[in-house]
């Protein structure tokens, strides 16, 4: 059983929680994730380690309520318990030796990108962050991101906050005005990662993306998380979740993530009925 130490709602659909998990906190590195299972009947769901504090013995997760499991978790409060919390899983990102990085987040993907930006910043790189959101009311982590970068650019699709437009537009213009990035990290909806990778390919900038296939064990025993990278099948939970964006087959990932779409819609609606009513689905896909 794992204690929820604190909880903060970042917007209508996105929640931040601090979980008591001292052993995981000791080891957690940027790029890694945990798998939680809320109760005996729940699914095993992967979430990125957004932050960790070895001193407090805590691991921070930031998640969007998109389906049954995340919906039910968002209804828990500080003081409640989560049955299972396994980690740290996946390969830590190797963020040493970069001079000027551009970290791009899309929606809740900003939460996943944040620890990488923080580590790059701590390693002495110049860090620009482009944080894309659909609209003003879902902007998250603005202060946290500001604290770990040199420039924060916020874009919204509808222009209600920051600059109007897509993150790819902003990236292009930053490159055009002469920013000499030696690393781009893109984390967010699959189409966003795909288009960012297309842009950086033209400029030959190394690009890392964090993939989010469906997972069960997270230790390499089911193969459910397989993705195609550079024409080869890789298991995202052990070989990733970060991969070279220029090599990933994003279209296949999008198809595979729809594996249970029809069944999950039913589960999600049921969870909303027993819960606090449907959270606005803010997923951009």
């Amino acid at each position: 059983m794992f204690l929820i130490m604190s909880k903060r709602r970042l917007n209508d659909a996105v929640t931040m929680m601090e979980i008591e998990a001292p052993l995981i906190a000791r080891k957690a590195r940027a790029g890694q994730f945990i798998i939680f299972r809320l109760d005996e009947f729940g699914e095993r769901v992967p979430l990125t380690i957004a932050d960790s504090d070895a001193g407090r013995g805590s691991v921070t997760i930031i998640f969007q309520a998109v389906g049954k499991a995340t919906q039910l978790l968002s209804q828990k409060e500080a003081g409640d318990f989560i049955l299972d919390f396994v980690g740290p899983l996946g390969k830590p990102s190797d963020l040493e030796g970069y001079k000027h990085a551009c970290v791009i987040g899309g929606g809740v993907g900003n939460a996943i990108a944040y620890p990488s930006a923080k580590e790059l910043h701590n390693n002495g790189a110049i860090v620009d962050i482009i944080a894309g959101f659909r609209s003003k009311d879902i902007v998250i982590l603005e202060d946290e991101m500001k604290a770990v970068c040199d420039h924060l650019y916020i874009t919204t699709d509808d222009g209600t906050y920051g600059e109007k437009g897509f993150v790819t537009d902003k990236l292009k213009s930053l490159i055009e005005v002469g920013n000499n990035y030696d690393l781009v990290i893109a984390i967010g909806p699959v189409p966003m990662m795909k288009f960012v990778s297309k842009v950086t390919e033209q400029y030959h900038i190394k690009t890392l993306v964090s993939l989010n296939p469906i997972m069960i064990d997270g230790t390499g025993m089911c193969g459910g998380c397989r993705v195609k990278v550079g024409g080869q099948t890789r298991f995202a939970c052990v070989d990733g979740p970060e991969f070279d964006g220029h090599e990933v087959d994003f279209d296949e990932l999008m198809l595979r993530n729809a594996f249970y779409k029809d069944q999950e819609k039913v589960e999600y609606e049921a969870a909303c009925r027993i819960g606090r009513g449907p959270a606005k689905a803010t997923r951009k896909e």
Partner: protein, 472 residues
């Protein structure tokens, strides 16, 4: 007591095939005490005990069977557990036909004594009647860490706990039991049996910590150095699934057997109370011919598929699955497409499986394994109309522990190298079960756990002379 001269085993009561292929309840329901006594009377109590030599853990077979004839079921249980700590499991899943029963003299003319069924009967009788927890041994002040809670980890833990060690099992999954809970289905091995065994271990003082992926949260070195375990036993199994590398394997509707069975068994997708999604299939092809393929096929049928076919590139004679499982599958209307091999999987415009192209095979010359090698018959390809493909062509050990433990040697398949006593290339680190042998059997994994427990005890005693003095 007079010998029962019947040439056949007392039949095992079972659910009707066409009813059981729609539920997850156990297929066979077990002997009654009367049936058990009747079958036990078929044993000749041979002086030379050929059957015992066929059992990897040398269960005292004639002795326990004799006790059954006297209706001393609890004593029979104690006799079995002198060498086998999981009889309710082994009685159900051991390949008896190639082990103990293959050596039985009654098998020369007629059927062998039903050693497995009797073992199961005795274990079930004990569970129902004498369910008092096993005693806790006096502590000897030393600690052993066990990685993995499959049969090899469990039996190693049991033996060490009996010797007074403080044993902690670290399990990556949220439930203990290894393949016994995530692989072998409920209808062959009820999960209540596995959890009873684990509760017995707990009563003996064993500490099972779930959600602990060793190599990530703690390394083997940290267990030895920071947490002061005297020794580590690696029983992490062979859980990494192989794929065929053919076109279409990443389509929606293609599963590894591990994923399919884990969703169904461990995550209980068949139970509406659980949130686990699993594909609602109409027609399923399962590729492979082992126990895993049989389990996946029979699970698919129970989950509602109209048609389930096992596609295997050799013939029944070479099939590695237990004979009983193949027969049960056939009774349950699983089709067998033997001497056929997949060529590619075909998807529709939404990336969903709609068919699989297969090619017919014939058997050629024997290969290095001694089995006749299948060769494709050119031009015999055809399309099988399926919406789900389950790949059950084998597994290898997970590389995580090798990668994170310096100096731990493995062979080129990733199997951990050990000496006969279970010692690895690292001092204080022992290993056994599928992690060492590659995918094998429950009883071999248990045997390896026992061997390692004895070696670990010897190793710790050697390092701590004060323990040697206290030796009984």
């Amino acid at each position: 007591m007079a010998i029962n001269t019947s040439l056949k085993k007392v039949p095992m009561p079972a659910q009707d095939p066409l009813i059981r292929n729609h539920n997850f309840k156990e297929v066979t329901t077990g002997y009654t005490p009367e049936m058990a006594v009747e079958e036990a009377r078929r044993c000749l109590n041979c002086k030379t005990k050929p059957c015992v030599a066929g059992c990897p853990v040398n269960v005292h077979i004639p002795e326990f069977i004799h006790l059954i004839t006297e209706e001393k079921f609890e004593e029979a249980f104690q006799k079995i557990t002198e060498t086998n700590s999981l009889p309710a499991v082994c009685g159900r899943v051991c390949p008896q036909e190639s082990q103990c029963e293959s050596r039985c003299v009654r098998g020369k003319k007629g059927e062998a004594v039903a050693i497995g069924r009797l073992e199961r009967f005795v274990a079930d009788w004990h569970r129902e009647h004498a369910a008092q927890s096993p005693p806790k041994a006096a502590a000897n002040g030393h600690k052993v860490a066990i990685i993995g809670s499959g049969p090899s980890g469990l039996s190693c833990a049991a033996d060490l706990a009996k010797l007074g060690y403080a044993v902690t099992i670290f399990e990556a999954f949220h439930t203990g039991g290894g393949v016994l809970v995530y692989g072998i289905p409920e209808f062959r091995l009820p999960k209540a049996i596995v959890s009873d065994e684990i509760n017995n271990l707990r009563a003996m003082g064993v500490n099972l910590q779930t959600d602990m992926v060793i190599g990530r949260i703690l390394s083997v070195d940290e267990l030895l150095e920071d947490l002061n375990f005297d020794a580590v036993y690696i029983g992490s199994g062979a859980g990494l699934p192989s794929f065929m590398g053919i076109e279409g394997e990443d389509l929606i509707g293609v599963y590894s057997a591990n994923e399919y069975l884990t969703r169904s068994n461990l995550m209980k997708a068949y139970d509406m109370e659980y949130a686990t999604p699993i594909r609602k299939s109409r027609a399923v092809a399962v590729i492979g011919g082992g126990n895993v393929a049989m389990d996946a096929a029979r699970t698919a049928k129970r989950l509602g598929a109209e048609k389930v076919a096992v596609v295997y590139r050799r013939s029944f004679a070479e099939m590695p699955a237990r004979k009983e499982e193949v027969e049960h599958a056939q009774e349950e209307q699983i089709e067998f497409l033997n001497l056929e091999n997949p060529v590619r999987i075909i998807g529709d415009e939404r990336g969903q499986v709609k068919a699989m192209e297969v090619i017919k095979m014939k058997l050629g010359e024997p290969d290095s394994s001694g089995r006749r090698r299948p060769v494709a018959i050119p031009g015999s390809n055809y399309e099988l109309n399926v919406d789900t493909v389950i790949v059950a062509i084998g597994t290898t050990p997970n590389p995580l522990l090798k990668k994170t433990t310096e100096g731990l040697e493995t062979d080129r398949w990733g199997c951990i190298y050990t000496k006969d006593n279970g010692a690895t290339s690292r001092e204080g680190v022992f290993a056994g079960g599928d992690a060492v042998t590659g995918a094998a059997t429950v009883i071999l994994a248990m045997g390896a756990g026992k061997t390692a427990a004895a070696s670990i005890d010897k190793y710790v005693r050697h390092k701590h002379p004060e323990l040697r003095q206290a030796e009984p």
